[in-house]
Subunit: 426 residues, 2 copies
């Protein structure tokens, strides 16, 4: 990366035994990495360590060799929460009890003890532990009884944040407002970032388009990645590369236009709801093999209830017949997994849930239930709106979860399509 | 940890720019960590680095100081896939082209080129690159065109695996069968592991039970963690600590008996389906604020279709009335978010989807839509089976996603409850 050597180096250290055991997937490393990148700084590494003191101390030591060291976890009141003690040791600072902090944490703990009906004495060692910081460190405020901690060592600024993601995010917002972090982050400029999101095209076709458009380099960095069955093209422009970047973006947009559906990060379910809302339309779902995932994604969006009427998970032939009024004749002649049944399900959802737009999914998610004629991975999706409907047939053998997720994403994109201006000619 | 110093030290290095940018959450580190732990080895750390050569080389260098170094990613054919080259440099080995490997990768690439209608010459540099390994390394077989690589340095065994999780897992299975890995892993013994899973109890109450049962230590390590609104108690017993472990487990089981629902990792949705299947019962759902998540979790289980009849996502009053036949009167008097409507929805699902067991959720997931009387986080869940029904009221203000997920888990556990022997007296 051009100019990378002049940039401050940032390290993230994440601690937690459950993380090095694979019991939990760390979310704080990715969050902090994203926060840094948005400010123009790519994390040099994210180190995940358990609570073994030697391993944690070594990781903190490495962290303090960077310009910025962000630490997640290990701030609790118990003996195996060692971040502060080991940070002090790695920084060569003594530990000091902060009387004001002790009072702040103490009053919280007292209230807590009262609520639990336990003597405050039980909490006192924890209070003293949590009020003890490396010399020169400052509290960023409390998360529960744990203070976030900022330690400015001149060459390195270290920030220790609590492990629970919501707490970490809250105290991180405070950390970025402090003078030491402004100083480090002031040395970089956020890159301009463009995000192209495509659906219905392969990663390799996008890679080919990139090559044909001249490729990246010279301050323009392009990452192509398949994410949840969409293709995301991330274009980072360094200072001075704007013009070259715009040319490249134009060179990508033109051959990929028909697949390009967004230039921001808004999820397709939010996009579909917004499009319905703008046109005053309501929406209903009818799902078989996706078992409610389409409805769940739509309703994950706050405020979806003004557009989304409801859905039916028709997992049996009987429910397709009785609730969605799919003709029994059709189920017998074409089978539940068929284009005709998908169309009837979408129409049924629209009609019987009283919506303007209906979308349906029916397929074989496996691992059992496939036949030579209708193998695992065969899925029919149908969407119908005021301007008519469209069906799609998928045939991607994969694991159950992938088949269901791909079908869900496809269903949402198909709704987007049938609501596009110009449909059904577009 | 007792005896930790005699154990081999294992490091995991994960490479990928998207990972240090927070664009994607790494799944390979947790997978490899779990695999190691099952064999008795806790990873000392998981290092995540981008594809900057200096950072990756430094991470590999550290990895080679351990007894076992597992590397994920960076094996592709393009210039920014540098794992093999930098592994050789870190190990002080020269790179050698393997003619047999070149032929193996070449024939694959030739077929690929033909399929794409492109000249093989385009692929040749990539083939040579991927067939070039550190001196003394061996291929573990191909993932796409990338070989997994095993390098036995005596003091350290290094294994480089491809980044796509399915490929990594496939080649990891081969790696553990090799002599060098058997040698390293033969130095440890898998700990006995007990997993207690509880629902309806707080983490701190479990922590108190642990203290009262004598606490951990002396070869017994206990981790308590809240996971998706259940509490998981993970008990690891080292050799010789079996007796002490059994005593501790008994001391935990006894006060927590009514919350303990499993001593294995089977998901509650699978458990509920198995219980229905064993009794020959069918199941249906009626969801409002969870928007299909309960149905989606049930249908995530292969073979769920023999038990799960279907579900209704009744997101509007009209759909509650028209599809589930919830009396309009009740919706007016009690409101859609009420215990009575939850009960009527569960009954409606059971009746109108023709199932033996019905479960419903209705609530305010927020962020908008809350009132003083019915605030965000208020959720009613009801389950009804052949022996009768039970309702639960939740009132946990939180973000939309947490409220929905908590309600979903609660609904599944409530079904489990109403199917328990002895219900409704139990």
């Amino acid at each position: 990366m051009t100019g990378a050597d002049r940039r401050p180096r940032a390290l993230v250290v994440v601690t937690g035994s459950e993380l090095v055991r694979g019991d939990r997937t760390d979310l704080n490393g990715p969050f902090l990495a994203r926060e840094l990148l948005e400010r123009g700084l790519e994390a040099a590494r994210v180190t995940i360590v358990g609570d073994r003191p030697d391993e944690l101390e070594a990781a903190l030591h490495e962290g303090l060799e960077a310009d910025l060291c962000l630490v997640s976890g290990g701030l609790g009141p118990t003996h195996d929460d060692r971040t502060i003690e080991l940070l002090a040791r790695a920084a060569g600072r003594t530990l000091l009890l902060g009387p004001a902090l002790e009072e702040e944490i103490g009053s919280l703990s007292r209230a807590f003890a009262t609520r639990l009906g336990r003597p405050f004495a039980d909490f006192e060692p924890g209070v003293r532990k949590q009020a003890t910081l490396p010399e020169g460190a400052r509290s960023l405020g409390l998360a529960g009884t744990a203070p976030g901690v900022l330690l400015d060592l001149g060459a390195c600024v270290a920030v220790a944040l609590p492990g629970p993601p919501a707490e970490l995010q809250r105290l991180w917002a405070r950390a970025v407002e402090t003078e030491p972090l402004r100083r480090v982050l002031g040395r970089v400029r956020p890159p301009r970032r463009h995000l192209l999101r495509l659906f219905g095209v392969s990663e390799s076709a996008v890679a080919r388009a990139l090559t044909e458009a001249g490729g990246d380099g010279n301050g323009v960095e392009v990452t192509i990645c398949a994410r949840d069955f969409e293709i995301h093209v991330d274009v980072l422009l360094e200072e001075g590369a704007e013009e070259r970047g715009e040319t490249l973006l134009a060179g990508l947009r033109s051959p990929l236009e028909r697949y390009l559906f967004a230039e921001d990060g808004e999820a397709v379910e939010a996009l579909v709801l917004a499009r319905c809302r703008a046109r005053g339309l309501t929406l209903a779902t009818a799902e078989s093999c996706t078992g409610g995932l389409v409805a769940a994604r739509l309703t994950s969006v706050p405020g979806s209830s003004d557009v989304f009427r409801g859905g039916v998970v028709a997992y049996s032939d009987a429910s397709k017949r009785d609730v969605l009024r799919v003709p029994g004749e059709l189920l017998r002649s074409d089978g539940a997994v068929s284009a005709a049944v998908a169309e009837a399900m979408a129409a049924g959802a629209r009609e019987h849930l009283g919506a303007d737009v209906g979308v349906s999914v029916t397929g074989v998610a496996g691992p059992a239930g496939g036949t030579a004629e209708k193998p695992v991975g065969l899925v029919f999706v149908h969407a119908v709106g005021p301007e008519g409907g469209r069906g799609v047939e998928l045939a991607y053998p994969a694991d159950r979860d992938s088949i269901r997720r791909r079908a869900t994403t496809t269903a949402l994109h198909l709704v987007r399509r049938v609501l596009e201006p110009g449909f059904p000619r577009g």
